[in-house]
Symmetry: C2
Subunit: 198 residues, 2 copies
Amino acid sequence: MSAEGDEAIQRLIALMARLPGLGPRSARRAVLQLVKKKGALLLPLAEAMREVAETARECVNCGNIATRDLCEICADPKRRTGQICVVEDVADLWAMERAQVFRGRYHVLGGTLSALDAVGPEELRIPRLVERVREEEASEIILALAATIDGQTTAHYIADQLPGTSVTSLAQGVPVGGELDYLDDGTITAALKARRAL
Amino acid sequence: MSAEGDEAIQRLIALMARLPGLGPRSARRAVLQLVKKKGALLLPLAEAMREVAETARECVNCGNIATRDLCEICADPKRRTGQICVVEDVADLWAMERAQVFRGRYHVLGGTLSALDAVGPEELRIPRLVERVREEEASEIILALAATIDGQTTAHYIADQLPGTSVTSLAQGVPVGGELDYLDDGTITAALKARRAL
């Protein structure tokens, strides 16, 4: 046997250690906490994970996490159509939603174009974005992409694919080299208000 | 709806945020990672949690985490009897085991005596320790408790309960005010070798 008890415990520690933000030591502490709080934490967590594993999927329209074919935002009639905010991933969509300033819909690319990682437009749900702009007769595409080289390359590529559509991008406040998920709500609000034509 | 998608996802984030080492932001990142790696991480994790929830219990002898009535250490005939190492909790037992220097058995108190938190000997599996010392004819009790005031109070209380038994305590290397779980193996080894009579 190893230092951390039996096989099931060890397996749980090894899996927990693969979560972002947890290393081997914090995974051990987390597992001890889970075992101590079996009824209040471990069982509900196992159940919540099973439920998410069974129901979570990608929204067929925008790529957001959904539990039905359409995510709650795409299915919400109160969300404005005609304005699509393009984000790199779901964490960025959540960051935008926390700012509570955008009332349109989203399009989750699933990454940015990257020559180094061989990520092309086909990998990124960009063709689907072009389709949506036509189908939904979108009047404005707001690019909420990171201020990195790959993010800006992606922004320009998308603008090129949408001639005749107004393409804006978050401007003021996004720190150079920064990630959208780490911004505070106020900065996101300022950036959305000061968006500029690309 | 809230910013982080549907109810099941929100519940999972809220539960994950209660783990030590994770806050709301890292819980969100962890959940996104889980949803992305459904087959490789989310499902195995849900299954491992369910298994641990079903099998994990306290060893009836020593208080360690076990999957049967006796933990693997108490059930192991190769572990020396007659030498009992007393630790505060299972994390400390794991830290001792990682140092691979102690070949006897353990007794997990489940805390330390604390007037402030109203923790008395009955809450701490100390009566069971006194029983074990008699039953197993233990020749030495090694106290591996934190070098805090509560830890040392507990050490002296235990020594008082066991007249005629050799009670030693980890000495060299345990930093004053430090926690056992945070020590490196070398320090634990040195402390075990330099243990002194209480």
